[in-house]
């Protein structure tokens, strides 16, 4: 595969920076000037997982014109699959010391593990589910929606309803996913303690590798003939029908893939933040993901990663320094970007390089 400068830089930075952080954390002494504290490692890991969500949103929004306001649902489902694995790893170290049942089930007075929890103690199965569940949900949802030619704002609204419905469902204790509190107090992953510096550094590097892989997959898709059809569907859907294409088939493929990408992000997110609960399904999360993409530059892929990192970095800073103002700042940022930077931060670079807008560049 031929890489241009943007792709080379994206991959180099996306992998190089986390790798450097992880190495500095692992090889330097806590008192050393260059030491990177573990909380920074955890934060960086979180940003990278959000970047995967952003990439997934950009793939469907930027290239297929599907504005999903419910993508965090796929992210959260991947996260729950990982959460279930991590819960099973706790074993008898839980508060109630039950080797079979997670604490919240003991608390609810359940006697045995629900059928859908079986297999999750096995890592490959849990990871397979982290891909399968978001993928299947997206496929079913997409098949119904795209076949009925639901588009535009109507589609956005039902994606929002989807994530809200899941939020309500996962809140219920009798769903068997920990209800309101979700899952936490994880002990180890594949035998390594989740909280340890080494594990965190490793997870950061693994996240960076997955993000790079997702970027490469997304990039090769949008540059393929499939991607060209997709862009054609985004701009003039009915015209593609008269050329003999079935837009619904194209949307379904990219939508399902995008959900799987978000699921991978969620699965990597949970061990790094140490908790998964229904608030991950909150509609606001999905909307924030759309803002990341808009800030970075819709339809550029690189912009999605950049936007997710910039906005979340801002969020971390703001919620520490001026916690009450964060939502106002986010709203103002979105308005600013919409009015003055229609192509996001990537648009700035493109304008400086006197190239066509990146959205269009990606189409070529």
């Amino acid at each position: 595969m031929k890489l241009d400068r943007t792709a080379g830089l994206t991959l180099g930075l996306t992998f190089g920076i986390p790798l450097t952080l992880a190495l500095l954390n692992q090889t330097t002494d806590v008192s050393a000037a260059l030491h990177v504290p573990t909380y920074v490692i955890a934060l960086a890991g979180k940003y990278l997982c959000f970047a995967m969500l952003a990439l997934a949103v950009d793939l469907v929004w930027g290239f297929a014109g599907i504005l999903s306001l419910g993508h965090a649902a796929f992210f959260a489902l991947g996260g729950y699959a990982m959460g279930m694995y991590l819960m099973r790893q706790i074993g008898s170290r839980g508060v109630y010391g039950n080797a079979m049942l997670p604490d919240f089930m003991v608390f609810l007075g359940w006697k045995e593990l629900p059928w859908y929890w079986h297999g999750f103690e096995w890592f490959p199965f849990a990871m397979f589910m982290a891909l399968l569940v978001p993928g299947l949900l997206a496929m079913g949802f997409g098949w119904l929606a795209f076949r009925s030619r639901v588009t535009g704002v109507y589609l956005s609204i039902i994606t929002q309803a989807l994530t809200y419905a899941l939020l309500l469902a996962f809140f219920r204790n009798d769903m068997g996913f920990g209800g309101n509190n979700g899952m936490t107090d994880f002990k180890d992953i594949l035998g390594f303690p989740v909280q340890a510096d080494g594990t965190r550094s490793a997870l950061l590097v693994i996240s960076a590798a997955f993000l790079c892989a997702q970027y490469l997959v997304a990039r090769s898709i949008v540059r393929s003939r499939f991607g060209k059809v997709l862009i054609a569907v985004r701009d003039t859907e009915s015209r593609t029908r008269f050329l003999g294409y079935r837009p619904e088939a194209y949307k379904l493929v990219v939508w399902t893939l995008s959900a799987v990408m978000a699921g991978i992000g969620g699965a990597l997110y949970v061990p790094q933040v140490g908790i998964i609960n229904p608030s991950e399904f909150a509609p606001a999360n999905s909307i924030e993901a759309v803002i990341w993409v808009a800030v970075g530059g819709r339809g550029t892929l690189t912009g999605a990663i950049l936007g997710a990192v910039i906005v979340n970095f801002g969020k971390t800073w703001f919620t520490g320094a001026l916690p009450n103002l964060w939502l106002y700042a986010l709203g103002a940022l979105f308005i600013f970007v919409t009015l003055f930077l229609p192509n996001g931060v990537m648009g700035l670079f493109a304008a400086r390089a006197k190239k066509p807008a990146p959205e269009l560049e990606a189409a070529e």
Binding site: K228, R241, L243
Partner: protein, 248 residues
């Protein structure tokens, strides 16, 4: 005319939109290899007729047959396109972010499924076909330009090129010379005659000079049905046609 020579057959086609009768028992027969001009005042049902043929609109009653045994009212747009019916819209719609080359590439007849296009590489055969279409529509020098950057007339030609790339048996053209200069109009008439050597064509047009230049059988639509047909001289002498065009 024998039945086997019939390419398109519309019989008693009626379309109602909320009480407005866009097509009223419209009947029309097109032979293989024929070029037909369809004219008529605004609201006569010309575009609705194209919508019915291409599967965008389902008729309330009536038969729409392609060839001897294909019922078009049972098929959707992609299926009808795959049968070999290509359509050019009134307002030129090309894929603006894509290059002229890619516009033709996407229109080339071939496998339309995602599982194919995900892995497809441009073959030498495809390159040759694109070259030949660009040659025909005189856009060879524009191949790397964005579709959206072309002039209005060039977009019209690109769209005709996309139609040719589909290799349809039947081309439906909705006002192909709208907004074109006189020279471009003349070139387009020439191009259509060339296309008509191998394919059937239906042209909906307002430009009477252009219709005259095509020199083919003309069908006049009025209020959703056929008012008159025949040569351009015949229909323009028809008192009912004069009444419809001038009488209001």
């Amino acid at each position: 005319m024998s039945e086997a020579d019939t390419l398109l057959y519309l019989d008693g086609v009626t379309v109602n939109f909320d009480g407005f009768r866009a097509l009223n028992a419209l009947s029309l027969v097109l032979e293989k290899g024929e070029m037909r001009a369809v004219i008529g005042p605004n609201g006569a049902g010309k575009t609705t007729m194209m919508d019915v043929i291409t599967g965008r609109t389902r008729p309330d009653t009536g038969k729409v047959m392609f060839g001897l045994d294909t019922d078009l009212t049972k098929l959707d747009e992609p299926a009808i396109a795959a049968l070999g019916i290509g359509r050019k819209f009134q307002k030129p719609t090309v894929f603006e972010p894509h290059s002229v080359w890619d516009n033709i590439l996407l229109a080339l007849s071939g496998d339309r499924r995602p599982r194919f296009s995900l892995w497809a590489r441009e073959t030498a055969e495809e390159k040759r076909r694109i070259e030949s279409v660009l040659e025909t529509v005189r856009l060879k020098d524009q191949r790397d330009r964005r579709g959206g950057d072309l002039s209005h007339g060039q977009k019209q030609w690109l769209e005709i090129g996309m139609l040719l790339a589909q290799e349809p048996q039947l081309l439906l053209l909705d006002e192909p010379v709208a907004g074109m200069t006189d020279a471009e109009t003349e070139q387009t008439a020439e191009l259509l005659r060339e296309i008509n050597r191998t394919r059937s064509v239906v042209v909906v047009e307002h430009d009477m000079a252009f219709v005259r230049a095509l020199d083919v059988k003309v069908t006049v639509l009025h209020e959703g049905s056929v008012l008159s047909d025949g040569s351009i001289d015949h229909v323009s002498a028809d008192p009912r046609v004069i009444e419809v065009y001038l009488g209001r």
